[in-house]
């Protein structure tokens, strides 16, 4: 294990919620409504149900091993070399995710918040912030997430309440207008990003105080996080309409632009960007933590902290190289990312689980 820290079950739930919301919240209405349009709530519900199953499976797998994360037991279960290969795959998986996150934040900032600032400057500042967080350790990160939590909830509620007067119910109809296939397709992008990225928690669950309640935490976190995303998507559809929602890169931000309180306070969408910023910070920190942990495991090092700066540099590089533009990213998320997420996020841990059970069964027969 990397450190001696312990995180509470409550902190785990908060981390999960913020991990799920992180970065997804600004895009989710567009991708979720892409195929299912006004039946988006159904896609969302299906995705949450699948997400709960995924979360349950992750928790179940994590609880098979005491005080070990997936990086450790993959080597034990699959053997040293195959295990290391799995770790490299996981490392690359999160390198890609983290690079996307860096890109997301930088693009959003330069397009919407502070146009004119070089994108690289934003990436570097944000990366340094993340590195500081990761170096302080998981315990500090989860405490910070705990402090962010009321703010995230407050700002989200502020958004939803203040635009709720503009809801137009006719945007919801006709209901069940779409084929099940299309609805499922929409859910699929939702399942692969963020739910199948939750494999990261296989490395974090071992630090939790009371493992007995981890399953509950995982499921509650999944439902809460997913629920928030679905509600935000619904609001987008209800207020902006299907067309406008799917056309925007950041539909949620477009929604926030509609905020007016008493005709005096308007254009305070920047505040809503705060939610996104806080959660994406937590998500990126966890990813960076995982990447560093995987390298530590790969070479059996003593500490992860010095690795954070080089990884940070590489991540900024990847953020620039991997994503030529946001359209590329949106397209990639909707196509190639789906098999990658399914393979790494589901098939890999499933194989580990099966092999582990077989081994137990085999050793049980021997004795």
């Amino acid at each position: 294990m990397l450190e001696q820290s312990k995180i509470s079950n409550r902190q785990l739930t908060i981390l999960i919620v913020q991990f799920i919301i992180g970065s997804k919240i600004l895009f989710v209405p567009a991708s979720l409504a892409a195929d299912s349009e006004q039946d988006v709530w159904l896609s969302g519900l299906i995705a949450i149900v699948v997400g709960v199953f995924v979360a349950w499976f992750y928790a179940h797998l994590a609880l098979q091993f005491k005080n070990q994360g997936i990086l450790q037991y993959s080597e034990i279960v699959l053997g040293k070399w195959i295990g290391k290969l799995v770790n490299i795959v996981l490392c690359i998986y999160f390198l890609i995710i983290a690079a996307f996150l860096v890109r997301d934040i930088a693009d959003f900032m330069t397009i919407q918040i502070i146009p004119g600032t070089p994108i690289l400057a934003i990436m570097i500042v944000f990366m340094i912030l993340t590195i500081i967080g990761v170096r302080l350790g998981l315990e500090v990160l989860s405490r910070a997430a705990e402090i962010f939590n009321p703010w995230v909830i407050f700002l989200l509620l502020l958004l939803l309440v203040s635009v709720s007067t503009q809801i137009e119910w006719k945007n919801m109809f006709p209901v069940f207008d779409h084929q099940m296939k299309h609805i499922m397709k929409s859910s699929l992008t939702f399942i692969t990003f963020p739910y199948l990225e939750m494999i990261i928690f296989l490395q974090i669950i071992p630090y939790v105080n009371k493992p007995s309640r981890v399953k509950r935490n995982m499921i509650v976190g999944t439902v809460l996080g997913g629920g928030m995303l679905v509600v935000v998507t619904l609001f987008c559809i209800l207020i902006l309409g299907v067309d406008s929602t799917t056309r925007h890169i950041y539909p949620t931000y477009a929604l926030a632009k509609k905020i007016t309180i008493g005709e005096f306070i308007s254009r305070i969408e920047v505040i809503v960007a705060g939610v996104w910023f806080l959660t994406i910070f937590i998500k990126l920190s966890l990813c960076l933590y995982f990447i560093a942990a995987s390298i530590v495991q790969l070479f059996a090092l003593k500490t992860y902290k010095p690795l954070t700066f080089p990884i940070g540099i590489i991540l900024i590089f990847l953020a620039i190289i991997l994503v030529p533009n946001m359209a590329y990213l949106t397209n990639f998320d909707a196509t190639t990312w789906i098999p990658i997420a399914i393979i790494v996020g589901f098939i890999l841990p499933f194989i580990i689980y099966i092999v582990h059970r077989l081994k137990i069964a085999a050793s049980g027969k021997k004795t």
């Binding site: 397709k185 070479f299 090092l301 010095p306 700066f309 080089p310 540099i313 190289i321 991997l322 990639f332």
Partner: protein, 76 residues
Amino acid sequence: MKVVGILIVVALIAYFEISPMAKKKEIKDLWVFSFLLLIGTVLSIMLAIGVTIPNPLDGLTKVLKPVTNFILGLLD
């Protein structure tokens, strides 16, 4: 100019990280750290001087094309 900036940053990072590791005699950590830092530096410099670097995701997309099409085909 950019290259100099990158080198300065890298030198600063190296200065602050290497001495504690060297003190604790964590030789392996030192190697891995230096290796990663070197990769990062080389890649950044390549980016800075405008070398065109192929996007690895394009390759990934090509390799996974059949699988992607299969999955998406199921739902189309």
